[in-house]
Structures are given as structure tokens and as C-alpha cells.
Amino acid sequence: MTSVASALPWPRVGAGGSVAPLCVAAFAAFALTVPGFATGTNIEAVLIAALPLLLLVSGQTFVLVSGGIDLSATAVVGLASVAGGLVMSHDVQPGAGGLPPAAGPVLMVLTGALAGAVNGVCIGALRMPAFMVTLTVGMFSGGLAVLLVRLAADTETLFNLPRAFVALGGTPLAAGLIAGVSALAAEVLLGGTAFGRMLRAVGYNARAARTSGVPVVAVTAAAYVLSGTFAALAAVLLTGSLETASPAHGRTLLLDVIGATVIGGTSLSGGRGQVWGAALGVLFLGMLSNALTLLNVSDFAVTIVKGGLILVAAIVDRAIRPLRA
């Protein structure tokens, strides 16, 4: 497998590097003009808030590089959160204290991976359109999460989670380690392994990759499984920090997930992208959100600004695409 992968052409990499000066520009501009932006506590707030998004974009990068898109990722966050809550919350399971501490997080990760596998099989093996499959899996996951939590507790949220779990997601150091190590692993997997090269080859030209011996179906499916798994890790962080399992977690993050990934240099057409670029995209959007809130810009304007920037990033992506041909 390694020999096949090493024989594949290396698509152009490094375009995500342009987001680094973007981050520097944003930081400098905000530090100079936004009161309270460049303070230790505020920068800490930006970094803590960015951690779940960092996990989501790490997973999304695999999918975008493979030439697909995962619109179900944020709904999977809600489903994984509820799945964990169902086995951990003392509201539902009075004896939850008797379970191994890892049971909840493990079930959450398995839930995410399973949702990703459904996406992967439909898109990879059945060759269904990614946007349609992931949109419907997202709708299904969101609805299932609400149904499960209502059946279990006749409410919309599950509280009373184990202290160890809350500390896992809710302590900045632990959350930072989970997100940082996971993102680093994703970067290595994508940028330094045969799997990463095969994924780029599939995204660049699936037919050519198949001819070259790349197991396109398995590679595509794996990208979606990874996306679901990373979404579940984001759910661990969100559920822990809010001390509540809820289908609503991550509900508003989809624009930021796609936006940060694209701003970070990952191509919407597949074949190109790096996790570290997407991580800088997360940092940029985090600083932007924070600064606009500090400037008292209305929520609608924040969405317009974000949407506009993401559109510009997509246009730039489209404009430079012929360069790689």
C-alpha cells in the first residue's frame, strides 16, 4: 500500500500558509483598535472557546481533502453528547457511578464514528452525493438526539454528570490537551502518512487514484469516520464545559467549521488542505467573533461579516484552482 501511495503524484501543498499573515493582521488590527482585546484573560477566552471548533475542523479537513463535505458534523455533536449523557447522567442512571469512568466518553466516540461510517458507506460505496447524505444524516442525528433525551428524562437536557467527566471537558488544560493532541495527530495522519497521500489523491482525482490502486471506497469512508469521531471529541469538550448533555450543543457551529477549514487553505474541490491551516482558520474566526462582540456589533452583522469572509476565501480557492492543474 505504501508503494502505491508513494507512487502517487503529490498535489500542491502549503496554500494554507497564507492564513498565518491573516491571523497576524487580525491580531494586530484588533489589538490596536478594540478595547480589551489584547489582554491575557481575553486571549485565554478566545483560545478556550476555539477548542471544540478545532476538533470539528480537524475532522472536516479529512472530508474536504477527500473531495466531499460533512454537513452532519455539528448534529453528530448533539447526538454524541446525548449518548454520553444517557449512560453518565445521574438523572437517568442513578447507578451511573458504578460504570467505568471511560464508558461515557467511549460511547460518545463510538456514536460519532458510527454516524461517520453511515456517511462513509453511503458516499464511498453507494456513491451518493456527499451534501445530500450528510445533510440527511445530520437531520436524523439531530432528531434522534431530541427523541432519546425526551424518552429518557422527559426534558431537553441531561444534568448531573460525573465530576471526572466534567473535569475532562471543562478544565481548560485537559480540554486543551485533548484538542491539541487530536489536532496534531490529524495533521500527522494527513500530512505524513500513506493514508494522507491516498486521501489527497482521491480528492484530486478519484478515477486516477482508483487506477493507481488506491482503495477509494475505504479511504473515503475512513475520512467520514474520522470526521464523526472528531465531532464526538468536540462533544466531550462541550458537554463537559457546560456540565450538560444536550442535542443543542454545537448547533450554530456549522458555518464556522466549513469557514475555518476553507480559510485555512483546504480546497472545497478536494485534494488540498492541512489541519494546521484549518487550526489557524479557527483562530482567525475566534478572534473575529470575540472582537466583534467586544465592539458591540450586532449578532446579525457578525454573521454577515463571517459569511462574507468565508465567501471571499471560497472565491480565492476557486480562483487559484487552475494553478494546480
Binding site: 500558509g17 498565518a20 493582521a25 472557546a49 426534558t155 437536557t157 443543542a248 470575540n290
Partner: protein
């Protein structure tokens, strides 16, 4: 992560464009944001709403904004679109900015608890506006209506009408979502007023709605088919009044208060629809949450906390019942009336 692979031309264009744009945005907005902060250490507060999707919350935010301007307070505001994690991020941003207090309308009573704890850790007082938290030892202030008392007062007005007519009434109540403390309070207030009426009111239908308009319509329709002689209706929220109107109209029983066959009707909230129905003469009464008072009180609590006065755990909005009799006197305090007039309703 090779920096040598970064194409300088594209990066430079990004840098120049974004730096110019962001600096311009920052300059314009920053100037506006700091203007009110030029006096000696004015209060700086953060206001985070879960949603702005109903007129009630729009009225609350408008009042907070106007009141802050009037009192020389710098107010940062944010809306979370129903996402508690986004609201937590906004709270952290406020804390990072060093606000003197935070006013929160949370998504629910549970996810707000870590936010209160984060504010407690930063020694920043928190006021929950209209939505209480679940039981917690994290200190904060809740300003919320006394649902039971306001409902009892409202339904007492209907009971008085029943007694004046010298007959007994058959009643229906549209219940809210009974996992919501507000819905429970309103139900309890209704039942208390029925008991106070001493047998003049016989409750024949208790319709569960779970705060859902369609469910309210179907449930009330069934209740009216089972008990066509129902002549007193209380809805736990004014937003379900259109469903009631729809059913009564179809039965030919949507009558004004002074018309024969009028069904005694009351609600809760005091929204613009209720005001319009009262002016048109179809609605007898509604319990009003005094959102203007609640918003002003929230700011007052934070001002007092800044001066060193310890914040109370609970402030009850006494609210009031607006009726066909006292409407001229109370309409100016009804938030729905103010909004209806602003949008050129009657």
C-alpha cells in the same frame, strides 16, 4: 508546516486587505463603544440573550439598551441563537473584557450553571432575566415574574364576571410545558383562583400543549368537541390565543365581551396580539409580565452590586393583570401595547 511553501503574493494581499478592513472596522466601532466610557469609571455590563425570536425578548433587550444609555452604562450585547456553548463563549468574552456585571437570558436552567460559576470565579455578579437556573449553590440573582400570583389575579377577574352573571362556568385551561417552572406556576395560579371562586367554576378540560401552537390547536379543538358548553378559557401563554380564536370562530363562538354567547377568555404574557384582542373587545384579561420593570431592575441590581451592596438571590416581578376595566390605566405598562403601538397596530 513549511513556511517556504507559503506564496508571498497571496499572503500579502490577504494581509493588506484584512488589516485595512479590520482596522477600519475597529476604529469606527471602537470609537462608538468607548464614547460612553469617558466619564469616571462608568458601569460596564454584558448582556447575553439566548434568543431574540419573540417580541418579548426584543422588548427586553430594547429596554436594557435604552436604560443603559440613560444611566451612562456601557453595554455589550450578544445573542446565542439557542446554542448554550455559544452563550458560554460570549460570557467568557464579557469576563475577558472586565465587565462589572452580566445579565443572562439562558437557554435553560442547567447549562447556565457553569456560566454563573465562571462569573463567580471572576467575582462578576450575574442576573438571570426571566428564566431561573436549576438548583445550584453558585450565587446569582434571578428576576422573574410571580407566575402563580399574576395568573391568580387574572383568573380572579374572570371568576368575578362569572359570579356577576349568577351562573356556573365550565372552564378549560391550555397548559404549558410542565417541565417549565413558568408553566407550573401559571397552572397553580389558575387552580388557586378556581378554588377561590368557591365552586363557581368547574374545570372540564386541561389541555397539554408543551408550548406548541399546533398541539394547542388540536387539543383545544378536541376539548371543545367533548365539552361544547365550555364558556371560560385560560391560556398559559398569549401566543396560543390565535389557536383559540381559530377554534371558537369555526364554532361561531368568537364573540366580543358585550355580545351574547361570549366565551370568557384570559391569557398570560401581555403580548401585542393580546393587546390587539383586548382593544378589539374579544379578550377579557391577560396577566402581564412587566418586562420593562424586570429589565430596569436587572440593571439596578448590578449598579448596587458595583457599589458594594450584596445582590439578592431572587427579585419577583409582581406583574399585573390587565383587564377590560383597567386597560386605560395600565396599557402604558403593558409591553405588548407599547410594541403594538410602535408597529401601528391599534
Amino acid at each position: 508546516m513549511s513556511w517556504s511553501k507559503v506564496r508571498p503574493a497571496r499572503g500579502g494581499v490577504w494581509f493588506a486587505m484584512v488589516a485595512a478592513g479590520l482596522a477600519a472596522l475597529g476604529c469606527v466601532s471602537g470609537e462608538r463603544g468607548e464614547r460612553s466610557g469617558s466619564a469616571a469609571q462608568p458601569l460596564k455590563i454584558g448582556v447575553a440573550f439566548e434568543t431574540l425570536q419573540t417580541e418579548f425578548w426584543v422588548a427586553a433587550l430594547d429596554t436594557l439598551r435604552q436604560e443603559s444609555t440613560k444611566r451612562g452604562i456601557t453595554m455589550l450585547q450578544a445573542v446565542a441563537d439557542g446554542d448554550p456553548s455559544k452563550q458560554f463563549e460570549q460570557v467568557r468574552t464579557f469576563l475577558g473584557r472586565g465587565v462589572d456585571g452580566i445579565i443572562l437570558v439562558p437557554k435553560d436552567g442547567k447549562t447556565v450553571i457553569p456560566m454563573i460559576r465562571a462569573a463567580n470565579a471572576a467575582k462578576v455578579p450575574v442576573v438571570l432575566l426571566n428564566r431561573p437556573a436549576d438548583r445550584t449553590d453558585a450565587p446569582h440573582t434571578t428576576i422573574a415574574p410571580d407566575n402563580a400570583a399574576i395568573t391568580r389575579q387574572t383568573v380572579a377577574y374572570l371568576a368575578e364576571r362569572v359570579k356577576q352573571s349568577g351562573r356556573k362556568a365550565k372552564a378549560a385551561i391550555l397548559l404549558g410545558d410542565l417541565s417549565d417552572i413558568n408553566a407550573i406556576g401559571r397552572r397553580d395560579g389558575f387552580e388557586a383562583a378556581v378554588r377561590d371562586a368557591g365552586g363557581a367554576i368547574d374545570v372540564v378540560a386541561r389541555v397539554p400543549t408543551e408550548w406548541n401552537q399546533e398541539r394547542a390547536l388540536a387539543g383545544f379543538q378536541s376539548a371543545m368537541q367533548a365539552h361544547p358548553d365550555i364558556d371560560l378559557v385560560f391560556t398559559s401563554s398569549d401566543f396560543m390565543l390565535p389557536s383559540i380564536k381559530s377554534v371558537l370562530s369555526a364554532m361561531g363562538r368568537w364573540k366580543k365581551v358585550d355580545e351574547a354567547g361570549h366565551v370568557l377568555l384570559a391569557g398570560f404574557d401581555g403580548d401585542p396580539t393580546a393587546y390587539t384582542m383586548m382593544v378589539d373587545g374579544y379578550l377579557d384579561a391577560t396577566g402581564v409580565q412587566d418586562v420593562f420593570w424586570e429589565a430596569r431592575q436587572a440593571i439596578t441590581v448590578l449598579e448596587q452590586a458595583k457599589r458594594g451592596t450584596s445582590a439578592p438571590a431572587r427579585v419577583d416581578d409582581p406583574g399585573f393583570a390587565i383587564t377590560q376595566q383597567n386597560m386605560p390605566m395600565f396599557a402604558d405598562r403593558m409591553w405588548g401595547a407599547v410594541m403594538a403601538r410602535q408597529s401601528h397596530r391599534p
